[in-house]
């Protein structure tokens, strides 16, 4: 055995940690090598020195205090566990996981349902919001301007934007109907829906409006007007009357 190899084995040899075969080989080498023998003696001395490290004496009071503290903590854990068992009998981790997952799913579904009910595409909620918006307007003193407009102008504009006008669609009637009805059908009223109140009003003056003069020229056409949110844009749609006599 070489000294370099023996030097590697000596620390383990000093503590009897070498397998029997290597121990025998090293013993044979130590018999013939003084340096390695001295090194082995030094390691044994060092190990004895280390083994002299006795643990301090821990007094009984300290040990009792530690034990009491552990038992107190264990009692607390037990109480908590008992309380949980009382709430959910046979509670285990799988059950807790499944329950929390189910609750999460239910919550998500409820959230989805509520969200759908309050969807902005819903005409009812739109009307409600519009109503709310109308009533919640900031009241400024007269003459005060908000974004360069007077308070009155603002209100007028909002009323105008909420208003939609359309013609009542003529209904197909039987020929036996009274002539008054036919006349009424020939000159349809202008129906106005006020978005503020949601009421429909028949506007006779609108029919006599010079704007609608072309109506007279095309009595056999149905005119539908839709006032958009922009007061400057009005959609006018002419459609042939369904009850108009076909030209044969």
């Amino acid at each position: 055995m070489q000294c370099t190899h023996a030097e590697k084995l000596i620390p383990l040899f000093a503590g009897d940690d070498l397998p029997a075969r290597e121990t025998d080989a090293l013993r044979r080498h130590l018999k013939s090598c003084g340096n390695c023998r001295r090194l082995a003696a030094e390691f044994e001395e060092s190990l004895d020195w280390l083994r002299g490290l006795a643990a301090p004496q821990f007094d009984e009071a300290m040990l009792d205090g530690m034990r009491d503290s552990v038992l107190r903590d264990v009692g607390r854990i037990e109480n908590r566990a008992r309380w949980l068992q009382w709430i959910v009998p046979g509670l285990n981790l799988r059950f807790a996981f499944a329950t929390s997952l189910a609750l999460l799913l239910i919550g998500a579904l409820l959230g989805l349902v509520i969200n759908r009910r309050q969807s902005p595409h819903d005409p009812k909620s739109n009307r409600a919001e519009a109503r709310k918006g109308g009533s919640d307007q900031v009241k400024l003193p007269p003459g005060k301007k908000l974004d360069g407009q007077t308070n009155d102008d603002k209100q007028a504009a909002s009323r105008k934007t909420d208003r939609r006008k359309f013609r009542r669609e003529p209904i197909n009637r039987e020929p036996s109907e009274s002539p008054q009805t036919e006349e009424r059908m020939a000159e349809p009223d202008l129906i106005t829906q006020n978005m503020d109140t949601g009421e429909f009003t028949s506007d006779q003056s609108a029919a006599a409006n010079p704007e609608d003069a072309d109506m007279d020229a095309s009595r056999d056409m149905l005119r539908i007007e839709i006032q958009t949110a922009d007061p400057n844009i009005r959609i006018i749609w002419f459609a042939p009357k369904s009850n108009a006599a076909p030209s044969k």
Binding site: D17, L50, R51, P56, V70
Partner: protein
């Protein structure tokens, strides 16, 4: 001659019977504690607390930390009883938990240097062999402090390996099981630790800082 041999044999049988009885009693205690018997658990703490706290002190080098580590060890034992197989070696399992707790605590307090001077002053390290000889007691305390310092210079795994092997007197296979390593790795760690301890001691001996006084 024959009678003496027979007497020895009977004594040996008695001893092994006593040991078997102790093992069986310990196993019964563990099973009772596992079933939630607090008296049994209390008994287990009483039986093992000194060894656990000593191990923690050797690994952490501080009395207060050792106390905290021992406390946490028994709490973890209680929490993990459900996973413990009574056929397993309880001592090995307990030591494994204790070493892990000490490792966690040491990591938590990595920034803090353990104060050997404070330990010596508090009398934790000094263990006077002859109370009448104060000088020898002081020297012994100093020696112990240097030993603790030597252990503190070792890396975490080497320290755990050498404490379990050379100070707790476990064999390499047991140490390997506790540390979750192979026996070869543990042997290598022990060897490296012994070389470092020897070098540390020689450095102090050369400086004349240590005069080894054996009672």
């Amino acid at each position: 001659m024959e009678i003496a041999l027979m007497a020895e044999k009977i004594e040996g049988q008695d001893e092994s019977r006593d040991r078997e009885g102790e093992v069986a009693a310990a196993a019964r205690l563990i099973i009772r504690a596992k079933a939630g018997d607090m008296t049994a658990f209390d008994q287990i703490i009483t039986n093992h607390q000194r060894r656990v706290i000593s191990l923690a002190w050797r690994l952490l080098g501080n009395r207060e930390d050792a106390r905290d580590a021992a406390q946490e060890t028994f709490l973890r034992v209680y929490k993990s009883f459900g996973r413990f197989d009574p056929a397993q070696d309880f001592n090995g399992w307990l030591y494994r938990i204790a070493v892990n707790v000490c490792r966690d605590l040491a990591r938590k307090r990595r920034g803090d240097h353990f104060s050997l001077e404070a330990e010596v002053e508090s009398g934790a390290i000094a263990e006077p062999a002859s109370p009448h000889n104060t000088e020898s007691a002081a020297m012994l305390a100093q020696e112990q402090a240097i030993l603790m310092r030597a252990l503190a210079t070792l890396p975490e795994k080497e320290r755990a390996a050498i404490v379990l092997r050379d100070l707790e007197g476990m064999d390499t296979e047991e140490v390997a099981k506790i540390l979750g390593s192979s026996p070869t790795t543990v042997r290598s760690q022990i060897s490296a630790a012994r070389v470092k301890i020897k070098a540390f001691r020689e450095r102090f001996l050369k400086r004349g800082a240590v005069r080894i006084v054996r009672p």
